[in-house]
Amino acid sequence: MTTLPTSTAKKLGLVIDLDTCVGCHACVISCKGWNTENYGAPLSDQDPYGANPSGTFLNRVHSYEIQPKDAPAQLVHFPKSCLHCEDAPCVTVCPTGASYKRVEDGIVLVNEQDCIGCGLCAWACPYGAREMDAEEKVMKKCTLCVDRIYNENLPERDREPACVRTCPSNARHFGDFADPDSNVSVLTRERGGMDLMPEMGTKPVNKYLPPRPKDRDRSEDVDILAPFLEPIATETTGFLGWLDKALDAMPGASKNGGKS
């Protein structure tokens, strides 16, 4: 059924910390590895060792530059995967019922046996979270590692999504947003976790923690009152002063006497 559940018992999802992500792409690789070897159709590559390689990924890391008005530019690494939206537009457009949102934990999944590969769900997703596999011709997306998080054959510390488990800078956190005291709810509250494209009305479950303000060396900063102070020296003196005047006097020097 591709109508969305009115509410889900749990709201499993990720918190991604843009402050600590170092852009190493380890989450991309562990995701590709786990999801190629386990649940569903493998994530294929086309021309992987050739001149024009491409492939299916459920998680991709972009990098953005922020140029604040009065501070140096800042680089932000930006991992992006399915946000398991509460009002997921990808689910309702599906004509076969292959796309669905689970009532028990809110994970958005694709039943690959029912997928006709029309691609409409990928059109409906604003985040580019769904990719049609060029080999299997079915829609692939993040499963929140549904085959890890409930898997009792794995040691307990491994029962979290592969991207979270592998992240070396702890920039990814997995938990239940329906529980106000969970790790992810607390992080979202304390660090001002935000939605991507809130104007799309998708109500994403995953939250992004904005980068903290950067500290910077202020020892060379000029005091804001400096322009009001009496100037202490108007003319250069000594050797450099003589050199300045001598160079100004040479042919080809600018007409205003070197004063810019």
Partner: protein, 290 residues
């Protein structure tokens, strides 16, 4: 958006086919026997041919029957059901007209409404897509419906009605272009809202996730051919509306009418290519491509 030939063919041919079926259903012309056989053959070839073309873009066309299940939420599912219903009902009407010399008016009217309904459901597949602001507005269904009805009038030989309808279709198409050009800007979605980083300063895409291309870029960030968009628009509107109008007003000969239909078909095809090629999906923002 990637202008897939199969989808463009489908929307062009089926739109015209269902438009003709609608006119036949309303009894314009209320022909019987061989004349109605020719009309119904043309209509079914266009409508069914378009539907078959549309399955070519599916990854798994052998599972297409599953697509009739989710009519409660999915416009694509509703389109499938509406199309099959229209073809079946109009099939019954056609049997009456061709083989029994009977015009079963109530069945024709139901079939005509279902035929126009099919084109409406097709247009809603695009209109519902919020991620493509150019499509997500009322001009999309109006443009699809007016072109379908004008094409039907043209093909059924209802010249007196076809002339004003073609003019209206042309206005609807131009309105879709004019409003569409501002749609992405007016939607308020930018790289700043996409990343949530806008409050901190100007955001610029610094490095893409991969050096190569991917499904998202191929499907949603089509930019080839945009430089000719203005010329193609003029060409599309002249062929779709302008030339057929001139031909229809010149005389009522069958040869000129055939040229008018052909010109209209090529014009709609060009306009539908632009419909996809010019559509900007917001995912392109993440790649700094808008």
């Amino acid at each position: 958006m990637h202008p897939a030939p199969s989808v463009i063919l489908f929307s062009t041919l089926s739109g015209l086919g269902f438009g003709l079926l609608a006119f036949l259903g309303f009894g314009m012309p209320s022909a019987t026997g061989f004349v109605s056989f020719v009309f119904f053959t043309i209509a079914y070839l266009l409508a069914v041919g378009g539907l078959i073309a549309s399955t070519f873009h599916l990854g798994h066309p052998e599972r297409a029957l599953k697509a009739f299940k989710q009519w409660r939420s999915s416009w694509l599912s509703r389109e499938g059901i509406c199309a099959v219903a229209a073809l079946l009902v109009m099939g019954i009407y056609a049997i009456g007209a061709i083989f029994m010399g009977q015009i079963w008016t109530p069945i024709g009217i139901i079939g005509a409404i279902l035929s126009i309904g099919t084109v409406f459901t097709t247009s809603m597949i695009y209109t519902q897509i919020k991620t493509v602001p150019r499509w997500h507005n009322v001009t999309t269904p109006i443009m699809f419906l007016t072109i379908c009805i004008a094409g039907g009038a043209l093909l059924s030989g209802e010249v007196a009605i076809a002339i004003p309808l073609l003019a209206i279709a042309g206005i609807a198409q131009i309105a879709h272009w004019v409003l569409g050009d501002k749609a992405l800007k007016n939607s308020g979605t930018t790289l700043a809202t996409a990343t949530g980083l806008g409050a901190r300063g100007d955001v610029r895409a610094f490095e893409p996730p991969h050096t190569g291309t991917n499904y998202l870029l191929k499907e949603f960030v089509h930019v080839i051919g945009r430089k000719h968009a203005a010329k193609l628009r003029i060409l599309a509107i002249v062929l779709m509306v302008g030339l057929p109008l001139v031909l229809l007003m010149m005389s009522h000969s069958h040869v000129l009418a055939a040229f008018a239909v052909l010109s209209h078909l090529v014009g709609v095809f060009a306009a539908r290519w632009l419909f996809f090629a010019e559509a900007e999906h917001v995912v392109g923002l993440y790649y700094g491509k808008r």
